[in-house]
């Protein structure tokens, strides 16, 4: 049971991390990062470390919000013309 959970969660974390690095769009990167962080929290829960999981979500989710603010404020958005 734990092995399956570990496999699925790690797969999601890996996908999200690759997405975060590979994405050209800053906001997409920040969102993938959030998914990766929540995946890590899920890993902590599967290890029965609930406190660590909650702290992970609280602190890193807040960080992602601030990151998104900076991504929105400091980077230019290329306005793709509609087709």
């Amino acid at each position: 049971m734990e092995i399956i959970a570990f496999g699925v969660i790690s797969f999601i974390i890996l996908l999200a991390s690759i997405g975060m690095v590979a994405s050209k769009n800053m906001v997409h990167s920040a969102l993938s990062l959030a998914v990766a962080f929540i995946g890590i929290a899920a890993l902590f829960i599967s290890l029965e470390a609930e406190f660590l999981a909650m702290i992970q979500v609280l602190i890193y989710a807040g960080a992602v919000v601030v990151l998104m603010l900076f991504a929105v404020m400091l980077t230019k958005r290329d306005r793709e013309s509609p087709r």
Binding site: V27, I38, I55, V57, L58, A61, V72
Partner: protein
């Protein structure tokens, strides 16, 4: 009946309990939203010397059903310059995250889906995630009003989350536990509103900010930035964002009741009824505020969050700690 009762044994299985509890909670919340929206429109109508909805059904009680059908059948517009994936994901994620904290809310000593050791932290963590879909909705449609609303929501969240956490610390110090059930049990003799008066004030203001309702509804201030972060959303997507917002106000009033107003404790009536009555009264106060108080400016709000609420919460923590040491 016997057979139905024998099925209750399966509830000790965490998978079954989670599934049944989750579905039951989602249905109950959806039903209560429909009722509360009607109550709100009627109540605010009376406060403003109007009748409120009174055409569809007796006392206009079916108005919400009709509005729901209207929203369902409206055209679902996706702006051309929008980031389509994020635009489609925002309402779904927002809707889903809004329901999550209720898993750790106790309606009586046993009526709780999951009595986590870190219940109050779980609720704080999940409700802090709720601003991510708001930002997604603000950024994705490529509209300046959406973006302004989303940025304001983020500013609001950063300024209310810290005082809220600090106000909760006082309660946790008195309880010696972060489990929601333990927190309510500790209030059997005296509600925490009395020993934690300062913390209560801070928490109520922070919770009202979290609910993003009228004195603090800066993310969608309709007289300043059209409709704020929901401007470009239409039809069912808009309805989902609206629902998620409303669930946040219900959660805020439930938290006020559980942390400070004695949760399920009360004479005669059974526990879940008491918690519902208290939550309803807090919701009514929320609506009353909406009808009476004008909207604050964004700089005033940030000032209050950082320069008033955080120091007050710190004083509360120091006071609680000292009192605990002196009184044992």
């Amino acid at each position: 009946m016997e057979y139905l009762l024998s099925l209750l044994v399966y509830l000790s299985n965490p998978w079954v309990k989670g599934l049944v509890g989750g579905i039951g909670l989602a249905l109950a919340i959806a039903g209560s939203i429909v009722l509360l929206l009607w109550v709100e429109r009627k109540f605010i109508g009376r406060l403003q010397h109007r009748y409120g909805p009174n055409r569809v059904g007796k006392f206009g009680i079916l108005q919400l059903v009709v509005d729901g059908i209207k929203l369902l059948t409206k055209e679902d517009i996706i702006p051309d310059a929008a980031d389509k994936t994020v635009f489609k994901l925002a309402p779904i994620i927002g809707f889903a995250i809004a329901f999550l904290p209720f898993l750790a809310i106790p309606f009586s000593e046993t009526m709780i889906v999951s009595d986590l050791n870190v219940g109050i932290l779980f609720i704080l963590a999940v409700s802090s995630m709720a601003v991510v879909p708001t930002l997604m909705a603000g950024w994705s449609p490529n509209n300046k009003y959406n973006l302004l609303g989303g940025m304001r929501a983020a500013a609001l969240m950063i300024s209310y989350e810290v005082p809220m956490g600090l106000a909760i610390i006082g309660v946790v110090m008195l309880t010696d536990s972060m489990s929601m059930v333990e927190i309510v049990k500790a209030q059997e003799k005296i509600w925490f509103i009395f020993p934690q008066a300062l913390g209560f004030v801070v928490f109520v203001v922070a919770a009202f900010m979290e609910a993003a309702r009228l004195p603090f509804d800066l993310p969608e201030a309709e007289s300043e930035i059209v409709q704020g972060w929901t401007t470009e959303f239409s039809g069912m997507k808009f309805a989902m964002l609206l629902f998620a917002e409303y669930i946040h106000s219900i959660l805020a009033s439930l938290l006020i009741v559980i942390l400070f107003l004695g949760g399920w404790h009360g004479p005669i009536l059974p526990a879940p009824i008491w918690i519902l009555i208290k939550t309803f009264i807090v919701m009514l106060i929320l609506m009353w505020m909406r009808a009476t108080v004008p909207r604050v400016r964004i700089d005033q709000l940030l000032n209050v969050g950082w320069k008033v609420l955080i120091p007050l919460a710190m004083i509360n923590i120091a006071f609680t700690g000292t009192a605990r040491v002196i009184l044992g």
